[in-house]
Symmetry: none
Subunit: 416 residues, 2 copies
């Protein structure tokens, strides 16, 4: 249950419900209904009563902040038929949080320490609002903040363990887990065709299922889900199916699986650079710093990432990177940028990327055209021309991931 | 009400509800609840009955296709207490659609011609599934396909006119619109206190309301919503309240409003650089290209954005930017980076940012410490030390926005 008038007005999209649905399913919990409701006491109460009538548990996201709009606590207390009690330990925590940032806690912030009688607190770690676990008979309301990273953190730390304990008590244990293979460069229908034999083999109701997830821009995911009595059995079912799926994909579509679960494309690249003891630098025109900003998010990036040059203006390409004066949306420019990136940052491997984000063409080159250059030690720079679909933002995002994928494949090939 | 198990599993995101909420609000229709439900007859019936009990009208999206999963029609008929009747005119339409594409219509497709007795048909224009207008007493269920472009087309063509007729009949015509003021550097509770007088003034049920939105990392938003008989009246109410809100914020918190509606911090910076005819370059350590990649997303950035240096490794700071050898997480390093950024990219204005993303300290400097340097034409570089909360990713994001905000304020101050 998502709380917030901004959701009803379409001012922000509710991404929490989809995230929760996916993670509940992965953990063997069926979600039957999602709801969204505005910042209105009577309607939150009504939505909570509706949800409790048709489900064993309810997760509410949002409405736990410090302002007068934030009334989820009050609504839950009404549904529980209890009073709100101010929890001094939480007040102290919030006060400490403000003190650490050199700011004064306002009176409104203390409202976040109000807890319905009988509810347990999920202490806040990354925000100022604590979460709540509110038992109602043998049912339960979990209340967490609507800010996605606060919500997901509390889900993993507190809600999931509590749900597992409740399931164990109800004799509904059993293990379920998923593994996601991440691919780049194939369509959902192409993957479905490559895996048709596996889908047919698993079609009878059984312990292993396959699904394709196309959400977001980071490629198509193949999710393998397995159910069994113990986690060990689940793990062995997942291992077996992963081998089959990888073989089927590799036979039909080649080396398109770049990672497992949360492994991003930049993690795949980092693993290969580290394994070969290579340092890396990048020169970006089209992507304007996007590749560099992805790479620095890999833990330990300082061991191999030297830095980069964002050569947005042609003069920066000529003066800093040594690109020969002339057209800058060409394979030759990408090659010179790759060599310049390695030289300027003192790295072993350099990557250069130039192209046309659109909507207009540039230097007579069509929007969506991307040139990638790669400079490896002791080799002349290689180049590749790519076509990527979408608007400006999308061309940049796809261009960045495609360039990193090219580096991944090139490093694999040059090892062989 | 969105229908489809894939929504509950998080395999696709429900974008229809946000779209509908926005377009209903724009047309003066308050949406009080969103729901999502899976492809399960009993649960769709329950969700429909719940929705009808608490609202005057319900829009369902999805479950009108040709497969056995598509059971919204059946559920609506049960809620209406009537039979489904096959409509031969629609059968012929669907058959013609298949014929035109040289394919045979399957028996399943004819199910799409089943209409609950007493319902009106919204003829299909872009897909194969017709929509339905189903009166229940003086309430109504609108059923449209879940495919977004089919849904939006039917909403504009059939649902909106029908809703307008119902509102006119009930004497509830009118217009509603919102405007969002975007702020950086204040807490939600601080804003609420600064605006307490406005909130009190608007507290009586009236035509203008204020709300605070803290979603995401881009600062707190203050949303003004106004209702009136005509769009002109709404617009003038919004103008008047915006003036009051800006004055109240400015008096208490200073110059923290950086934009309106979709204007991001980088747009605010771009407007000021363009107004003063200044070009810009950036040197990033901590943020690793994040500032550059935000700036290139501003339409027309090539007119003023030269480029940048991602100086992640200290050697790149020394060799490329001319930072004096020694500690690199200092105000002096940030100043040298700002000057280096302007010099290397040939820009009028240079920004340098260095700091500690964490979790460990670096050079004895605590995680979350950020140093920003700014170099403006004909002036020695200025520096500022900031403290930002959160994990590595968050420190980077907040650091990037805070640095751009500092540039915004500095440009404003140096004009004065």
């Amino acid at each position: 249950m998502a709380v917030g008038t901004e959701l009803l007005l379409g001012q922000i999209a509710d991404t929490n419900s989809a995230w929760l649905g996916e993670h509940l399913a992965t953990n063997g919990v069926a979600s039957h209904f999602h709801q969204a409701v505005g910042d209105n006491h009577d309607r939150i109460v009504l939505a909570l009563r509706t949800a409790l009538a048709r489900s064993d548990g309810v997760i509410t996201c949002g409405g736990l902040g410090p302002t007068q709009d934030d009334i989820t606590r009050d609504a839950i207390a009404e549904v529980m038929g209890v009073e709100l009690v101010r929890n001094q330990a939480i007040v102290d925590l919030i006060a400490g949080f403000f003190e650490a940032r050199g700011r004064a806690m306002t009176a409104n912030n203390a409202r976040q320490a109000d807890v319905p009688q009988g509810a347990a607190v999920i202490p806040q770690v990354v925000g100022t609002a604590p979460g709540l676990i509110c038992p109602i008979g043998n049912k339960v309301i979990y209340a967490v903040p609507g800010v996605p990273y606060e919500m997901t953190e509390m889900f993993e730390r507190a809600i999931l363990p509590d749900l597992r304990a409740r399931m164990a008590e109800a004799g509904e244990e059993g293990a379920i887990a998923s593994r996601v293979l991440r691919t780049w460069g194939a369509s959902e229908s192409g993957l479905a065709e490559a895996l048709q034999d596996r889908i047919d083999a698993l079609d009878a109701p059984g312990d292993v299922t396959l699904a394709f997830l196309a959400s977001g821009i980071e490629g198509i995911k193949v999710r393998i889900t397995a159910k069994a009595r113990t986690l060990e059995d689940v793990s062995s079912l997942l291992d077996k199916e992963e081998t089959e799926v990888r073989r089927a994909i590799d036979d039909r579509l080649g080396d398109i699986v770049f990672g497992v679960d949360d492994e991003s494309m930049e993690v795949a690249v980092a693993q290969r650079l580290i394994a070969r003891g290579l340092s890396f630098g990048v020169a970006e025109s089209l992507t304007g710093g996007l590749i560099a900003s992805r790479l620095v998010n890999v833990p330990g990036a300082s061991a191999w990432f030297r830095g980069g040059v964002v050569a947005y203006d042609a003069r920066v390409k000529f003066a800093v990177l040594g690109v020969p004066e002339g057209p800058v949306v060409t394979e030759a420019a990408a090659a010179a940028m790759a060599e310049g990136a390695a030289r300027v940052t003192g790295a072993d491997v350099g990557l250069g990327i130039t192209g046309v984000a659109g909507p207009e063409e540039q230097e007579g080159v069509a929007a969506g055209t991307v040139f990638v250059g790669l400079s490896l030690p002791g080799q002349p720079a290689q180049t590749r021309e790519l076509r990527v679909p979408g608007d400006r933002e999308r061309v940049r995002q796809y261009g960045a991931i495609s360039a990193l994928d090219l580096l991944r494949r090139t490093l694999d090939a040059s090892t062989a």
